[in-house]
């Protein structure tokens, strides 16, 4: 089940996510103004430390937040417990981090 450490990590990751989501939505709206093309996106993001940090942090916070949330759902609805429950949390965390990290690397590097 959820102890105060997981609770706080989920709250802190949510606090990090809130402004990043606003930034992400604003960016999307601004980005599509002149049509959306791969070249245009990569022109903005490639080699950009700023966008690398922005989306890197975004991915890290999502991974923490979603892993803890899904762990709670799995506990309450699937009745997973103990090691199996913690493993599920870590797998979701690692999976999201890997997928998101790969996407960020692809547009920034």
């Amino acid at each position: 089940m959820t102890d105060i450490r997981l609770y706080m990590l989920q709250r802190i990751s949510a606090m990090i996510l809130a402004p990043l989501i606003v930034g992400h939505i604003v960016t999307m709206i601004v980005a599509v103004q002149d049509g959306l093309s791969a070249a245009e996106i990569l022109g903005r993001t490639q080699g950009s430390l700023w966008w690398g940090l922005f989306y890197g942090l975004f991915v890290a916070a999502v991974s923490v937040h979603a892993a803890i949330g899904l762990r709670t759902v799995a506990f309450e609805w699937l009745k997973l417990k103990g090691r199996a429950l913690d493993m599920l949390g870590w797998i979701v965390f690692a999976g999201l981090l890997a997928l998101g990290g790969r996407a960020v690397a692809a547009v920034v590097l």
């Binding site: 102890d3 105060i4 609770y7 706080m8 309450e76």
Partner: protein, 242 residues
């Protein structure tokens, strides 16, 4: 509606931990009748073996709680008029606890959790020392005052969907008790209590959906108490404790 009906159609859950079902009784409608009056009438007149609990009949002892038409209620102070639907009542034991027999649920896990949550007062003075002076206007005392009128009825516990989904969760009443003690300047057990409510079965499991506060017959707000625990425990965790 129920006021101009002279007979109530009452279904009472009968059985034990192995199972059971509803049995129908026709009970005469009386003025100012409570749900406990209905149950008592059934035991006196129709079903002498019916098991249920009550003691004070005035909302003090917390022993008479049952599920009435789907919601947990203190039956001695719940008027039939308020809960009956078209003269119908369906009465069952409290949810989230095992049944002993009929309407009597096993309260042991509920009270064990009070202890588990650090609900025992840890005195820091003896009777020979002068009584501690606690100014009533301090925020801590105000927070404790808001939660001390609990009668241990387990209505909130039965109302809590998180207890239903996560049976080890300490639940609203035990955590509310821990919060009142955490705000008691005379208590010396705060470190252990904070640890107890910060753990796997503690305050962090609460989803703040407030069924407990909604149904507490004494108008307490365990959700607010638990929010206080989350703040206190969260701050302790940030400082490197818990």
């Amino acid at each position: 509606m129920t006021d101009d009906i002279d007979t109530l159609a009452v279904e009472v859950w009968r059985g034990d931990a192995r199972g059971g079902g509803y049995v129908a009784y026709a009970v005469p409608r009386r003025e100012s009748q409570t749900v406990l009056d209905v149950v008592t009438w059934i035991q006196h007149n129709a079903e002498p073996a019916l098991a249920y609990r009550f003691a004070c009949r005035v909302g003090m002892c917390g022993s008479c709680a049952m599920t009435v038409n789907g919601a947990p209620r203190w039956t001695c102070r719940t008027h039939v008029r308020r809960v009956a639907k078209a003269g119908r009542l369906r009465i069952a034991p409290l949810r989230n606890l095992l049944v002993i027999r009929d309407l009597a649920a096993d309260m042991a896990p509920f009270f064990d959790k009070w202890t588990e949550a650090g609900g025992t007062f840890a005195p820091t003075a003896t009777r020979d020392e002068p009584a501690a002076e606690i100014p009533p206007e301090t925020p801590e005392r105000a927070a404790a005052d808001a939660g001390i009128e609990c009668i241990n009825c387990a209505v909130c516990y039965a109302a809590c969907d998180t207890v239903a989904m996560a049976p080890d969760y300490l639940g609203p009443a035990a955590l509310n008790r821990a919060w009142t003690l955490l705000n008691d300047a005379r208590d010396g057990g705060q470190a252990g209590r904070l640890k107890a409510v910060s753990g796997d079965n503690g305050c962090a499991n609460c989803h703040s959906h407030q069924s407990c506060a909604d149904l507490c017959p004494n108008g307490l707000n365990p959700t607010a108490a638990i929010a206080g625990l989350k703040r206190r425990a969260g701050r302790a965790w940030l400082r490197g404790g818990a």
